[in-house]
């Protein structure tokens, strides 16, 4: 199922990575933030929306490692961020989609305003298709259900596909294997 997901997601310009452990994934994220030049300056922040992956993590220590990485943020901060990190609840293989209960507004701010969206997902939360997804999540559980498939795109000028309009121009998907993968 992961292979189908990867194929579908990459076909719509997402970048897909997979790690055996949470710590390996965390290392990758931190290196990625540094590589992309995250600094404590407007326009170069990174915002990380609250999620299970962060449970037990020392956020202060992470912010010290990567200055500019913020865990409590306003919409202005999110708008001044280059990177937003969120954890997704489900992934759907046959369309290469990620799904999140985005009722909490910071989840939407972090995944829609920055130029790059880093999306974490547990490999065991990968589902086959849309019908199986709807057995797991629906309007009862979520006031704002977000299904994200690849980065933001348009073809409104001369039918030329252009990536990155109002949403992120890059979508980095990071799968973490193992039961309880999202617990640090």
């Amino acid at each position: 199922m992961f292979d189908i997901f990867k194929m579908r997601a990459e076909a719509v310009n997402a970048e897909v990575h997979r790690f055996r452990s949470g710590s390996a994934a965390l290392d990758f994220v931190l290196r990625f933030l540094q590589k992309e030049g995250v600094t404590d300056n407007p326009g170069s922040y990174a915002v990380w929306a609250d999620c299970r992956f962060l449970d037990g993590a020392d956020r202060k220590q992470l912010s010290e490692k990567v200055p500019g990485l913020k865990f409590d943020f306003s919409r202005e901060t999110a708008a001044e961020s280059k990177i937003g990190i969120t954890q997704m609840d489900w992934a759907v293989a046959d369309t290469g989609s990620l799904v999140q209960d985005s009722t909490a507004v910071e989840q939407r701010l972090a995944s829609s305003l920055p130029l790059i969206h880093v999306a974490l997902a547990a490999t065991d939360r990968l589902l086959a298709d849309l019908p199986s997804l709807l057995t797991k999540i629906g309007p009862k559980e979520s006031g704002y259900m977000a299904v994200i498939t690849g980065p933001s795109r348009t073809a409104d000028i001369e039918r030329v596909l252009t990536i990155g309009v109002h949403g992120p121009e890059r979508l980095i998907i990071i799968f973490v294997d193992g039961p309880g993968a999202m617990d640090q």
């Binding site: 507004v105 829609s112 704002y144 299904v147 933001s152 409104d156 001369e158 990155g164 309009v165 109002h166």
Partner: protein, 716 residues
């Protein structure tokens, strides 16, 4: 047809940007759409959508009520109205109460329908469209030319010019750079807006949820950043249950943009928190605007099944030439014609409905199974019923229905034009038929019509009779192409079938029907039924797909529309007996009743390409049979690009709108030429007339022939 309308067509046809961009898009669309639907049972999917949307259309009131209760239980305010003016007032009031000065909008056709933007601007509220295409259109002060691709008619140069003015900076025509400029410019507007206005693609009664589908991510910002969100939703977007969203979300992106899924699908149920911890004010406006009336009309209710994918625009041979602007203010293309007739005014669709050439491409791809061509004909019928036919039209139908008079008139015309007959074609025709020669040469009228030739020809060529068939000739074979009729008779005789030709048969009624003159078409049907029922034969065979469709379907539909129920049993009887030439002959060959000469064409085996006529391919669903017959006859078949795209004939369409018929024909001729075939075969005498005439005008020596004529020599 109004003069301004004709002018708008000509303006569109001369706009190379528009026709170029639309043409390239529609050519690519077919392939990419097919790829997106790979592995999916499209028929099953669209049957499901048609069922659930049809259920919704029959229960609008109940679903709207359930939706309102469930959405309000989650903190939304639902406002339901039939009156578009009330919607605008409501929005201005909400803006006023909350001190809103600026609004960001994501794409909403419903708001276009009620002309919301100018109203808000008049009330001092600044509106920014945020969908890139819509924003371009807004800056240009234009109207969208396509429901899904609003700015498809504009070039990057024009966009660069517009954006340069907007940001006071000289911009290059680099598209990614232009998109960045839009992102930055609109970002500020998103962050400062007091209200977000969106549409919705689906509204779920069971849960009070709204579903919004976008690619750019603007709807996410519109529904997240401002503290007020107003969603304007046409009540036809309602579905009963949450699970109903699956088939719609499966089909919509594939049909609209050939994507498996759009980048973003947002499912919003009730209030959500704002960034300052307060709860968002969510207003949902359920707009009726004549939708309930439409639901109460048994013929038009199915139009409410539309999911607004615009695939009917993308496959339309006319739309790809003229684009959306000729259609008027809001909805465009096939479904747009129907929606305009209802949401605006039937009368306003008078001109735009005439654009439909009835090729049936849209019906084939519609994910909601709407019979768009049939509904457009129904509009035509109602318009004619209200206003009556023009005198010229009446005269034409009078003549067409009088067989001998029609032939002698055509014949006279043909003879008086003798000096102009060149290479078997008339260059000019007098009287009301003169327009016919504008874009292609016409065949000369046969000196002896088929009906008289048939009398001359002996019926006793059969050794031992094994069945009897009634031959329905139709006007073109009868008067212009009797040789096609002769070929049919010879082939049937070779299978020891006796052919009967009832003298009283007349025009199949298609020209009248496609002009909305259902009374005339109904009379044609009655006359034909009387004539055809006289002969006791198992099959009625026609070598014209349009006539076959009339026999198999349109007699019934016409009686149905006219309420002439007493004729329905006979019409059904005829329908059961009718069969097109190729299907019938293929059946005979399969049964071993016809054999093909061995290696008759072996030495040369000429390269041949096949043109699928609209009625043959899409209404009768016949495409393989003629190809197999031709291959068995020794022809080397090569497929052309878009073999089943209309040739532009469309019966009287080529008379009424030669300026559109001509470029459609040119495209067809080009696709035929590109195959290097020396022969193009088809099963429709109308297509033969159009394509043969086109090549004659061009001076191209490609043979244009009916399948019957090509295979007759090759059958033992």
């Amino acid at each position: 047809m109004k003069k301004e309308f004709r002018e708008s067509i000509n303006t569109a046809l001369q706009n190379a940007n528009l026709t170029g961009a639309l043409g390239r898009f529609s050519e690519a669309y077919r392939t990419s759409r097919a790829r997106a639907y790979e592995g999916i049972d499209f028929e099953a999917l669209r049957t499901r959508i048609a069922e659930l949307k049809s259920y919704a259309a029959s229960h609008l009131d109940m679903l709207a009520e359930t939706f309102s209760q469930n959405a309000e239980a989650r903190g939304a305010k639902v406002f339901r109205t039939t009156n578009p003016e009330k919607i605008k007032e409501y929005i201005v009031n909400v803006a006023g109460e909350n001190g809103v000065r600026s609004v960001v909008k994501s794409k909403s056709m419903a708001s276009e329908e009620i002309h919301l933007n100018p109203y808000l601007e008049d009330h001092g509220i600044h509106v920014s469209e945020t969908d890139l295409g819509e924003w371009i259109i807004q800056l240009a002060g234009q109207r969208p030319s396509h429901m899904v691709l609003p700015a498809i008619h504009m070039t990057k140069e024009e966009v660069a010019e517009l954006f340069s003015k907007e940001v006071h900076e000289r911009l290059s025509t680099d598209i990614p750079q232009l998109v960045k400029v839009a992102r930055n410019r609109l970002r500020t507007k998103f962050l400062n807006a007091g209200m977000g206005i969106s549409g919705a693609n689906i509204a779920v009664a069971e849960t009070g949820s709204i579903v919004i589908v976008t690619n750019e991510g603007n709807a996410r910002l519109v529904t997240t950043l401002p503290k007020i969100h107003i969603a304007i939703i046409g009540i036809e977007k309602l579905v009963a249950e949450f699970k109903d969203i699956v088939p719609i979300l499966t089909a919509l992106p594939k049909s609209a943009t050939a994507q498996l899924l759009t980048s973003y699908v947002s499912i919003i149920t009730g209030q959500t928190p704002n960034t300052d911890g307060s709860m968002k004010k969510l207003h949902i406006i359920l707009m009726d605007n004549r939708r309930t009336e439409m639901a109460n009309d048994p013929r038009f209710r199915q139009a409410l099944q539309c999911i607004r994918c615009a695939s009917c625009l993308n496959v339309c041979p006319v739309f790809r030439l003229v684009g959306g602007h000729v259609f008027g203010k809001v909805y465009t293309g096939g479904i747009g014609t129907i929606l305009t007739a209802w949401f605006d005014e039937m009368k306003k669709s008078e001109d735009i409905q005439s654009l439909c050439i009835q090729c049936g491409n849209c019906k084939e791809v519609c994910p909601a199974k709407i019979d768009i061509p049939e509904l457009i004909l129904e509009i035509r019928r109602r318009l004619v019923k209200d206003a009556g036919q023009s005198i010229t039209q009446k005269a034409i139908f009078y003549v067409v229905n009088n067989r001998r008079l029609f032939h002698s008139m055509l014949r006279t015309a043909s003879l008086t034009q003798k000096p102009f007959v060149k290479g078997g074609f008339i260059r000019h025709l007098p009287m009301f038929l003169s327009d016919l020669t504008e874009l292609r040469s016409l065949p000369p009228i046969a000196p002896v019509p088929f009906r008289d030739k048939f009398k001359e020809s002996s019926r006793s060529k059969i050794s031992k009779k094994k069945g009897k068939v009634v031959f329905f000739a139709g006007c073109l074979i009868d008067f212009a192409y009797p040789d096609m009729g002769n070929a049919v008779v010879k082939i049937l005789n070779k299978a020891d079938i006796e052919v009967a030709f009832p003298e009283d048969q007349t025009c199949c009624g298609a020209p009248a029907r496609y002009s909305g003159a259902y009374e005339v078409a109904g009379q044609n049907a009655i006359d034909n039924i009387k004539a055809l029922m006289k002969e006791d034969a198992q099959y009625i065979v026609s070598a014209c797909p349009t006539c076959t469709v009339a026999l198999k379907h349109e007699f019934i539909n016409t009686f149905d529309s006219l309420g002439k129920n007493d004729w329905l049993p006979q019409a059904r009887e005829i329908a059961g007996r009718a069969m097109d030439f190729s299907t019938f002959v293929k059946k005979l060959a399969d049964e071993g009743r016809l054999t093909f000469k061995d290696g008759a064409l072996e030495k040369s085996s000429p390269l041949l390409t096949y043109h699928d006529s609209c009625h043959m391919k899409r209404t009768l669903n016949v495409h393989d049979q003629p190809r197999e017959l031709l291959k068995k006859s020794g022809f080397d078949l090569v497929e052309m690009f878009e073999s089943d795209m209309c040739c532009g004939m469309g019966g009287t369409y080529s008379l009424k709108l030669p300026e559109i018929s001509s470029p459609i024909l040119q495209r067809k001729l080009k696709n035929i030429r590109s195959t290097s075939a020396s022969i193009v075969a088809m099963d429709c005498p109308g297509c033969v007339m159009q394509i043969k005439g086109g090549f004659d005008k061009e001076g191209v020596a490609i043979k244009v022939m009916h399948t019957a004529e090509l295979i007759e020599q090759q059958i033992e």
